[in-house]
């Protein structure tokens, strides 16, 4: 082909060499791993504090680790759903109250089922009911966003209100206590005496979601839609169907968080997830996702959620006023976003106009 005289005339400067594009710069690497770097720094800090101030250990104490893990479960699950939604270019503001709704429904159903069936079956039925109920507001979100073209921020804000109201109505304005031995065992006992069951359930689910996002067509299309919906549509991807499923999935994540809450506390509460919504967004952002969509990973989000959990637990551990939590998490979010922007503008990598 190089014998074609036109090519020599048209492109004398382009030898068929390596075009060199596609190497990750140092800054890009740091940006990619920033949540893990934050986490490492935090753990080092608290470990140092424990040794110097208390003459003990932070990380060596399994009680601390268990507490952080238990504390992180609901945040991790909400943030997992949020990761999918944010990568697609959306956001789900209703997750916190979907979680509360699921917690209340699961509690009610277990209470109802207790006299009718063996304890483990009652728990199973309650869990299924909680997760399935959570899929309903997820489906409504999906329908609004995918088919009625309502902006995700608005559609899920509406659902935030609806799920909140319904959850409080169902709970009768209070918490719904459950007494079921299997449920409390699930919430409080530990595998090998050390790993809480709720943590194991969450971990298995999150691993599954990591697989879905990173290894399946659904995950791949989610990234493509977040980056360039026209390209995705042109490639034959059914964007509406995808978005619908996406919001159902994120509702289900919140549902699982809700039923595990009911197990942990042997009670359902409408406000179970109220403070966790913003934490879920923060975890995703700290974990490396862009709120503009198109980027993010489950593993990054896991690190992001643990950054928040470690800050919140660790500051109690070092015994400062709890308000420092808000400041610290806020600072981490801002630094995280700054790293991301620096990486975008300084990394030699070109962005299309």
């Amino acid at each position: 082909m190089t014998s074609d005289p036109h090519i020599d005339r048209a492109a004398p400067v382009a030898p068929p060499a390596d075009h060199g594009a596609g190497r990750l710069t140092l800054l890009q690497r740091i940006a990619k791993l920033r949540a893990w770097l934050f986490l490492g720094a935090l753990l080092l800090f608290f470990e140092g504090w424990a040794r110097i101030v208390y003459g003990g250990t932070f990380l060596g104490n399994t009680y601390n680790l268990q507490s952080i893990a238990i504390f992180a479960v609901a945040r991790l699950l909400l943030a997992t759903g949020q990761t999918f939604v944010i990568i697609s270019g959306g956001i789900d503001l209703s997750l916190g109250f979907i979680m509360g709704l699921a917690a209340v429904v699961a509690a009610h159903v277990v209470v109802w089922a207790n006299p009718l069936m063996p304890a483990p079956v009652a728990v199973l039925v309650g869990f299924l009911a909680g997760v399935l109920i959570a899929c309903i507001p997820g489906a409504v979100n999906g329908f609004l966003v995918a088919y009625l073209k309502v902006p995700p921020f608005i559609g899920t804000l509406g659902m935030f209100g609806v799920a909140r109201g319904v959850a409080f109505l169902l709970a009768g304005g209070t918490t719904v206590p459950v007494s079921n031995p299997v449920l409390s065992a699930l919430g409080n006992s530990r595998l090998f005496g050390s790993i809480p069951w709720t943590v194991i359930i969450a971990a298995v689910f999150i691993l599954l979601m990591h697989y879905v996002l990173s290894q399946t067509r659904f995950g791949q299309h989610n990234y493509a839609i977040g980056a360039n919906p026209q390209a995705a549509r042109r490639a034959g991807i059914d964007i509406r169907k995808h978005l619908f499923r996406l919001y159902v999935l994120s509702g289900a994540c919140a549902g699982l968080a809700g039923v595990l809450y009911t197990a942990q506390f042997s009670a359902g509460a409408a406000q179970a997830g109220e403070p966790l919504l913003l934490d879920s967004v923060a975890a995703v952002v700290i974990g490396g996702a862009s709120l503009f969509g198109g980027s993010g990973t489950i593993l990054g989000t896991v690190a992001g959620a643990f950054v928040i959990a470690v800050i919140q637990y660790g500051l109690v551990f070092v015994d400062v006023k709890p308000f420092w939590q808000f400041i610290s998490v806020g600072v981490v979010i801002i630094i995280s976003v700054l790293i991301d922007q620096a990486q975008r503008s300084f990394s030699g990598g070109r962005q299309s106009e």
């Binding site: 036109h6 048209a10 382009a14 390596d18 594009a21 067509r217 493509a224 977040g226 070109r350």
Partner: protein
């Protein structure tokens, strides 16, 4: 997949008396053209001459108001760009084509990702196959890329254009249509795209490209069709015409 060239005389795509009006505006009046395998046809004309309208009518974006399109001698009607693409007519869009955050392979296979079984049972994306196919396809376009796992946002405009073309080539596009493929690019990148068009020609594909740049047109096209206010102002072999003549056709007179 390599040999798409049939007899050099058999037209791949034929457009006969194609018209298109938007309400009272007749953007295209009875324009005819032919593309053979391995042939590059340039569309030129002043702003608003109807070039984009013509290729949109050919690629299934607009339904023509009159005339017919023949593919391999058979009359066809495309209700959507998807239908045109399924029949091997691929349009390369400047911005809409790629998902920036995916790899070259991810873009080539977008919507048609190959899967494999991990551990014998778990279906997972076959990234290696995507990367290998991408490397091979890009090499055929004379683009040699070191890292197949980098997102295409790391690439330059011309390289991204090459990825979009690579995608079409991989899926066996027989006619590639490009609307001002070099317009947004720097000079070295423009040359690269022109070289790409030469590759497509050598592979026996038909290329229609719109350009305002006569230098590009004379570097790569076999024929040029000049439109003026929706009508065909003239058709010339590149070897038998000059810049001056083409400009005269464009402005009229």
């Amino acid at each position: 997949m390599n040999d798409l060239s049939g007899t050099p005389t058999a037209p791949l795509l034929e457009i006969r008396h194609l018209s298109k009006s938007f309400g009272a505006v007749q953007a295209l009046k009875e324009v005819s053209m032919t593309i053979r395998a391995g042939e590059v046809v340039a569309l030129a004309g002043d702003n608003g001459a109807g070039k984009t309208t013509l290729i949109k009518a050919v690629s299934g974006v607009y339904a023509p108001s009159g005339g017919e399109i023949l593919l391999d001698g058979q009359p066809v009607r495309f209700a959507s760009p998807q239908e045109a693409r399924d029949r091997g007519i691929e349009t390369i869009y400047q911005d809409l084509a790629l998902a920036d955050n995916l790899t070259i392979g991810g873009n080539i296979f977008l919507g048609r990702e190959p899967m494999r079984k991990a551990l014998g049972f778990l279906p997972v994306l076959d990234r290696r196959r995507m990367a290998e196919a991408a490397r091979e396809t890009m090499a055929r376009l004379d683009f040699h890329v070191s890292r197949m796992d980098a997102p295409v946002s790391n690439f330059s405009g011309g390289q991204r254009q090459a990825v979009a073309i690579g995608r079409a080539v991989y899926w066996n596009a027989r006619v590639l249509i490009m609307d001002e493929p070099t317009a947004a690019l720097g000079v070295p990148e423009q040359r690269k795209v022109i070289a790409l068009i030469h590759q497509l020609k050598a592979q026996g594909r038909g290329v229609i490209f719109i350009s305002h740049n006569l230098q590009d047109i004379f570097a790569v096209a076999d024929r040029i069709i000049v439109l003026r206010r929706g009508v065909e102002a003239g058709e010339r072999r590149i070897s038998e015409t000059s810049h001056e003549e083409v400009v005269r056709l464009m402005v009229g007179g």
